[in-house]
Amino acid sequence: MTVYVKGVVFENVNFEDPNCWRLEEYVKRGGYAALKKIINDKITQDDIIADMKTSGLRGRGGAGFPTGLKWSFMPRSFPGQKYLVCNTDEGEPGTFKDLDIMVYNPHALIEGMIIGGYAMGITVGYNYIHGEVFEAYQRFEEALEEARAAGFLGDNILGSDFCFQLHGHHGYGAYICGEETALLESLEGKKGQPRFKPPFPASYGLYGKPTTINNTETFASVPYIIREGGQKFLELGKPNNGGTKLFSVSGHVNRPGNYEIPLGTPFSELLEMCGGMRDGKKLKAVIPGGSSAPVLPADVMMQCTMDYDSIAKAGSMLGSGAVIVMDETVCMVSALERLSYFYHEESCGQCTPCREGTGWLYRVVHRIANGEGRPEDLDLLSRVGDNIAGRTICALGDAAVFPVRGMLKHFRHEFEDLINKAQKAKGL
């Protein structure tokens, strides 16, 4: 479901062609030219990392950390084994962009990882793929075979002395494995429970070795940056928000799908690209960056541009770029109830504030939604939230609290109305 508009990951991909993902087609689109350039012109690791920094590319997995900077943290001269890991555990509700990269353009990811391996002196990589998308995992395995057969991947790539091995690892159903250290645990064959940080993966990662982890879309943006130059990528977006980005638009629009557009595009334009609101209904609210991002009301959202800074200024976050659009018929209490259930269900249970707190959040929102709310419940939600946020091992705790805070900030009256009704029904 990709509605390509203009961007670096899906540039020139013909989605109608069932073979568009194949190596042959990718090469026709200019694929693997960046890798050839690096090998033939003997481009240095420092030059690649400098170009990555110039590009302004920020991690597309949710946190938006500058990729060039992350790559520079890798201790390149470390004598032992180092690892490169791709995070395709796409499970943040509303996000479905990495799935389309795997299905329609897997070689962009593979080439991006090979270049990453070269730049950081890493010889082994893994791509961790979300459990529910087995077909994407199979496609990735096939694409790897193609890349090996063509001499782009494996020993002595393109006749040079650079070697890079890459493998797919299939998850089996756990949202928490999207968190990078949980993902590493899972890759080691353990329960996906996040690790304490520090140490960070750059010093203690997979099997205790220095490791760099990036999101699928981050890696898939690399070939363009190396081929066309970091400056050109930067200029596609705006300062501090370089390049184009995939937005997964779901909910009440006429054409849900992935839209790859320049960062800084007004939300109102994106909404138009999606064919506007379904059934001509009015826009009520948008969750702009995946379910963990605080909701924004229509009037605020219509003033935003789609980039990290604008959405942050409006009090939310761009996150993974999942845009969940809700029309005037949506009950915000029910919407929050479903999200709170999700975080409770997916908490790994290691930290008491998250394990117990997410249960409290869900149960309280559930009783409000079911006409059993109590006058003290909104304060209770705030207090429980304060006791989770910032007090846990990983950011899932925060992710469970942000949607609650956003809803209470912008749609408090809907919660109050239901609580008042519940009180009246009881004759109070």
């Binding site: 509700p93 996000t95 979300h130 064959g189 099997y207 849900p256 969940i324 999700f342």
Partner: protein
């Protein structure tokens, strides 16, 4: 592959074992534990669900403690530790899908199959499960068949068609 022969007979077919060997080969020689997720998946595809004997067999095959395999099988929610029907149908009801008919799909299936979530039809043909976001919300409502086959745009008509196809 494994030289560890604590279990005397194979619980899995030669094809499944060959597939597991391919998983093991992806990881460093001293890290066969990394292959446990793949091995359990391959076993479940062959046997439909995982018994304790199977989990122990896999642990022995990989040369790891049975507890290590057991905790993985219980942590990840696509592993089935109890018998399931011939076709396990998992419907996503998370918010993005719900906005595009996820609950309509779930309710239609419940009514059509005469079962609730986590139940199996009397003929053992279908098990119904509620799922979390599958990373496919653009195709909502979505349903996963036997963990590995994603079905998009599952309106009631599409469900009728799909169920008729599933023998």
């Amino acid at each position: 592959m494994s030289t560890n022969n604590l279990t005397t007979h194979n619980l899995l077919s030669a094809e499944s074992l060959a597939q597991i060997d391919r998983e093991v080969a992806k990881y460093p020689a001293d890290q066969a534990r990394s292959a446990v997720m793949g091995a359990l998946r391959i076993a479940q595809v062959e046997k439909r669900y995982l018994t304790n004997d199977m989990i122990e067999f896999i642990a022995n095959y990989l040369g790891i403690a049975p507890m290590m395999a057991y905790e993985v099988a219980t942590f990840y929610n696509m592993y089935d530790m109890k018998p399931v029907g011939k076709h396990k149908l998992t419907v996503c009801t998370n918010l993005p899908c719900a906005l595009s008919g996820g609950y309509t799909t779930a309710n239609y299936l419940k009514q059509k199959l005469g079962i609730d979530f986590n139940e199996t039809t009397a003929d053992g043909k279908f098990t119904l499960k509620e799922g979390e976001c599958m990373g496919a919300c653009g195709y909502a409502p979505v349903m996963l068949v036997n963990n590995h086959s994603m079905c998009n745009h599952m309106t009631p008509e599409a469900i009728d068609k799909k169920l008729a196809e599933l023998e």
